[in-house]
């Protein structure tokens, strides 16, 4: 679905932000791109849909080479959710906003109407609202509804939950995870929130200064404290606690697993007494 082949990128008159990067994401994967500030996450996300073009190497996405295909054409298959929804929202009503992307991409009018109404219902949005007067969480939901309404094959999420409270955050992420599970939607999530990554991503790419330090299943990456430390990250809380507790806790990964093990051990001790 997405492949970087020896990609380098540098902004004008600066050293390369991405020196030489290669990775591949298959259809249906939920991949997190993790790294601290300045790791090159946002640059990679913009290279992924042709908003930026590689200085050398190649990026292919959905069968398109970004060097030979316009970002607007790639948009038919690849949707991008920006960290700040206010950069995206430009229409007077939520309904117009949700249908905007499909309209500029030339979808048939009937299809636009059907998909818009379905997206409004899915995200519990009122089509007549003015998007500018809604709360931050609602604006993020409107932005997400408008990028998903066109049924893309890959969605790039750039820090999708910044500024959202827990309820809004889980509502948005649960919906994305459902689409990934049930409809095979490929997700690339740019993020440095390790709790969020642990909860939703199946695979993590760990970046530091534009270089890929690690690539593997989330469960495995979360236990590699040395790797995460090199990337100036720390594991999510439960894997971190498990690492600290050491022997007997190596395989503990979630709150449920930790609770079960602790209960089992407590029961065992009571039995001994």
């Amino acid at each position: 679905m997405l492949e970087f082949k020896h990609v380098s990128y540098h902004y004008p008159a600066t050293p390369p932000v991405i020196p030489d990067l290669s990775f591949k994401i298959e259809k249906g994967e939920f991949v997190a791109l993790a790294g601290s500030n300045g790791a090159g996450k946002s640059t990679i996300s913009r290279l992924s849909n042709g908003l930026l073009l590689p200085s050398s190497g190649e990026v292919t996405v959905g069968g398109f080479n970004t060097k030979t295909t316009r970002a607007s054409q790639i948009a038919r298959k690849v949707a991008f959710l920006f960290q700040n929804p206010d950069r995206q929202i430009c229409q007077n009503t939520v309904r117009e906003e949700v249908s905007f992307g499909m309209r500029v991409q030339g979808f048939p009018e009937e299809e636009i109407k059907a998909r818009t109404e379905a997206a409004l219902e899915t995200f519990s949005l009122n089509g007549d609202w003015s998007p500018f007067t809604r709360s931050r969480g609602e604006r993020q939901r409107i932005a997400l509804a408008s990028v998903l309404a066109g049924k893309p094959e890959l969605v790039i999420l750039d820090e999708p939950t910044t500024g959202l409270d827990y309820k809004e955050c889980t509502a948005i992420m649960d919906h994305i995870a459902k689409l990934n599970r049930e409809e095979g939607l490929t997700i690339l999530m740019v993020c440095h929130d390790m709790e969020l990554i642990q909860s939703y991503a199946g695979r993590v790419l760990v970046l530091n200064r534009g270089t890929l330090l690690g690539d593997g299943p989330t469960r495995q990456i979360m236990k590699d404290r040395e790797l995460l430390s090199k990337a100036r990250l720390r594991p999510a809380q439960i894997p971190n606690l498990a690492l600290r507790l050491g022997a007997g806790f190596e395989d503990v990964y979630t709150v449920d697993e930790m609770a079960a093990l602790l209960q089992k051990r407590a029961g065992h001790k009571e039995g001994e007494e």
């Binding site: 970002a71 054409q73 950069r87 995206q88």
Partner: protein
């Protein structure tokens, strides 16, 4: 690179008092506008590029001159066909298109535009906008509120430019094509971008105003700033030289 961005340095020009630099830019511009001599105005443009070079800004002055020449060329074309004085120079089918008076006037006007605007634009390359406003408040007792408006406006220009590019990227990512050659279509596509730009700008301005208010913005007086802006001998000499330049421009 932003051609109006401040470039730090310790040259003679950098060391002048901000008020002197502002006055000098206006006096130099005035000398160019007063002069009716084509050669003198051209010489003043070259002189300004050389002066800028002494502050390490020769390349930027040349780029600014090139950009200003584009504006000058537009004014040249308009002036060339509208001024009808002098002898006919280009006549077709009995209709006089261009006259000698029109040509001289158009040349003079376009060069004046370049010569008068160049020092004003270079002023921002050698003066930090906060210093300029600080000096205006301390030395000329301009109310801080107005100086702050100017500082803030300049500070927001690169911010809004970057914001605009991000908004444009967000729309390109949704399938909007901006590289159409159809002007009407381009305007139709670009116009909606101003909505998110305006809303985000208003949010930023509102947050900035609250932030300034809670930090005691209204308590500032002329003496609140730590920085001092003393005048030196070089400042006086620069003003005298520029007044002399105005006299020469008026005479020649």
């Amino acid at each position: 690179m932003n051609l109006l961005q401040y470039q730090p340095g310790n040259s003679f020009l950098h060391r002048l008092n901000p008020i002197t630099k502002l006055a000098a830019a206006f006096l130099y511009g005035a000398a160019c506008i007063i002069s009716g001599n084509l050669f003198l105005v051209t010489a003043l443009i070259i002189l300004m590029i050389l002066i800028a070079a002494t502050a390490g800004l020769g390349g930027r002055a040349l780029r600014l001159t090139r950009n200003l020449l584009i504006l000058g060329a537009l004014m040249f074309i308009i002036q060339l066909f509208f001024v009808r004085s002098g002898d006919p120079l280009l006549v077709t089918g009995g209709f006089v298109w261009v006259t000698t008076g029109g040509l001289v006037s158009a040349l003079l006007l376009s060069l004046r535009v370049v010569a008068a605007m160049l020092p004003l634009m270079l002023l921002f390359a050698i003066t930090e906008i906060s210093d300029l406003c600080g000096a205006l408040v301390k030395k000329l007792h301009v109310p801080y509120r107005y100086a702050f408006i100017v500082t803030t406006a300049f500070r927001f220009v690169p911010l809004f430019t970057s914001e605009f590019h991000d908004i444009e990227d967000a729309q390109r990512a949704r399938g909007v094509e901006y590289d159409t050659r159809n002007i009407v279509k381009k305007v139709q596509l670009v116009a909606p971008l101003f909505v998110p730009l305006l809303t985000s700008s208003l949010r930023k301005v509102d947050a900035g105003a609250i932030s300034a208010e809670v930090r005691g913005f209204n308590l500032r007086t002329y003496n609140s700033g730590y920085q001092q802006y003393p005048f030196h001998l070089a400042d006086g000499a620069a003003v005298v030289l520029l007044v002399a330049l105005i006299v020469v421009s008026a005479v020649l």
